[in-house]
Symmetry: D2
Subunit: 229 residues, 4 copies
């Protein structure tokens, strides 16, 4: 049985650090337990340790650097993430893009270390190129909608359906998420109706007065949309 996925990118919002960061992780965990939906939290490097020690839902890092262990200052190799206990890593977010060869290296390295990968692309074609590299999940996010509150599932549904179409041609099993502008449970339902299995969100949760309420609504609407399929 498939479960819908809600992945929450903390970015570097003021709420992404300290007690607030921990609180959002706890609320995400609460929703996950109440609904059975997979909720992933993706905090900054400096907050990973504490959150991983506190919650049981999957915690991902926001990025990994394409280096091996050794004489590298201020970079975080995949091994460093493994050591701190993440379940996976977000790669190639439009705010932190990677060279193509490095995406490949990082996906392979993560797989070897038993970490999951969620790789972003900005267009359906880029999503399909990523799919060839066989990450666990792909999120296609038109950068012009990120942070706008205008959901891609409503404003550009053809981006989502075309992504699914192109990705499926080259990779039958990678999980596809919808990203960019996802704000409400309704947006999540739309994303699932368009053929994806979940969403990558950020500001809608991080800047919410009541993050629990937003995540809960997203989880419930995701489940409802999935049941109708």
């Amino acid at each position: 049985m498939t479960t819908p996925i809600i992945a929450i990118n903390y970015k570097a919002y003021p709420q992404a650090f300290g007690e607030k960061a921990l609180e959002i992780a706890k609320q995400a965990e609460k929703v996950a337990k109440e609904t059975g939906v997979t909720v992933i939290v993706i905090p900054p490097f400096t907050e990973l340790y504490r959150i991983i020690q506190t919650v049981e839902i999957p915690v991902y890092a926001q990025h990994a650097d394409p280096y091996k262990l050794g004489a590298h200052t201020g970079y975080i190799p995949v091994e460093a993430l493994k050591e701190v206990g993440v379940k996976g890593v977000l790669l190639n977010h439009s705010e932190h893009q990677l060279k193509l060869a490095d995406i490949h290296k990082l996906v392979v390295k993560a797989r070897e270390l038993g970490l999951e990968t969620l790789v972003c692309g900005d267009t359906p074609e880029v999503g399909a190129a990523v799919a060839v590299l066989e990450p666990d999940m792909i999120a296609v996010e038109p950068p012009e909608l990120i942070g706008t509150g205008i959901p891609v599932s409503k404003a550009k549904p053809e981006v989502v359906t075309r992504s699914v179409e192109l990705i499926r041609k080259v990779n039958p099993k990678v999980k596809i998420l919808t990203g960019a502008g996802i704000t409400t449970g309704e947006d999540v339902a739309a994303a699932i109706k368009l053929g994806t299995i979940g969403v990558l969100v950020a500001s809608a949760v991080m800047k919410a007065k009541d993050p629990y309420k937003v995540i809960k609504d997203m989880a419930e609407k995701a489940l409802q949309a999935l049941e109708k399929q």
Copy 2:
């Protein structure tokens, strides 16, 4: 009828500039005329104008920057290359790698402007990811062999055959070149026997005492290998 392709990356070798650069282009043109093989020369930005004014074989740029025309200092957009008269552009060489999204943007822009694209990848998987973006040509070059004089077609033939296999799964028509360490006509013949249509070379020609002789040998052996198929 298909013609084999020899693409010569001038890089920034001392011979890549001034009179020497022009001389190599003329010798490449001579071989092209004598053999019917497609010989492409790829000089530095600063040498493009003069070489384009002088020879009739295809001249490519070594790189393009992912910017539009406008307030960008010291960058060369695809439009700038169109303006100076190139036939195409090399992208994502292992010495000048690009972010995945930028490769896509540049391939699309070049196509719109009527320029050809030759995109590099460092592994068969990366080659296949590139193939999804539909450039005109792909060269798969294991970086550890570049500049060594150890031809990939001999040292790692499985890289070439696997590249062909993975690329053909997602793109039936893109032209596939073999790169890295190609030094002699024999190496070129091996590359063609492994299923590619030509080679991307650099030091073997640029550092040769007699570039004409090297290019001529490559062209002849390429034709012979192609006829046997």
Copy 3:
């Protein structure tokens, strides 16, 4: 005797390429001959050759890459610029910033090769840090004013005077230019009154209907301002 300096950064504006680029260089040369003012043109890499062959005023490159000659694809080392015949090179423009150690390497290399350097900084303090490295010229340009048509000499005269003050503390002889938003001859006069010896301009000339008229006005006002001192 000191001559005022007008340095024209072509950037990658549509007018920076082909015949238009050549025409602006000719008009700049005309002003230089008529007034005795030093007018420097700074076209894209791909246009350098043709412009250098055509005009006698100093031609600079917009950037240089911190590499030596050798196996570097799509990069332009200082030696490549020397070969094509530039008089100098613009470095660290706010649209093409360099790592501090690379600025040092490039200034030293240019000096060794007999090329002049014009290095940009975005604040008076950064200008002073650059001055320690002893380039020939420094332009302090607040990035928020670049391309606005709001001249720094009018909107933020204290940036110019503080730049002069901080730079002179560590380097008594480097030539200081004013940049960002310089649009008219009057702006140039203001820049000279504030203690600098000239200007770095771009859009005001590149987008002008009559570039000759704009450059001529700048040159004349610069001379008048300098005579009053």
Copy 4:
């Protein structure tokens, strides 16, 4: 009274993570308490929280990204470091170099937030350029000696003395450290005799069988060298 400084860059060595990272911090703390020397530990981002919770000596981050809080994925602004509780931040290490304007922004931001800055340079001239920006400490490290075990204080003492000379011309009070190849207490003593107040070390401590012993030796020799002045 001045105290000598030993700053330990953990880099991304295998010992830089998990329990080993914590253990080295405790041993550094032990030396600091026993000798009164200032020992600074500089672990990777992911290890900061735990080490800061455990030891009382100053903990620095290895790098900061030149961004504000907000929509930035996988980057660590200075505010994120303040939040996790660091005492300061290492900037512009030769393995993680920054654009000049960003060094300035980061030094200013750190100062505003009450964090100390230790900025690296690769040559005496670059060290002096950094000094203009008024960080708290500067380490001049010739990159060719980093990680070699060949101490700059022995192999190139003139780099250290010239750094002190050039830096003091523009900044009378910044603390100057010696880096690159520092391996033994004797190297530290030499660094202090050459006019600097301490050292930036990495592999000598991180790869030591007994890090305590190495740090202790460095601290004692530093004190002895300082007393003789």
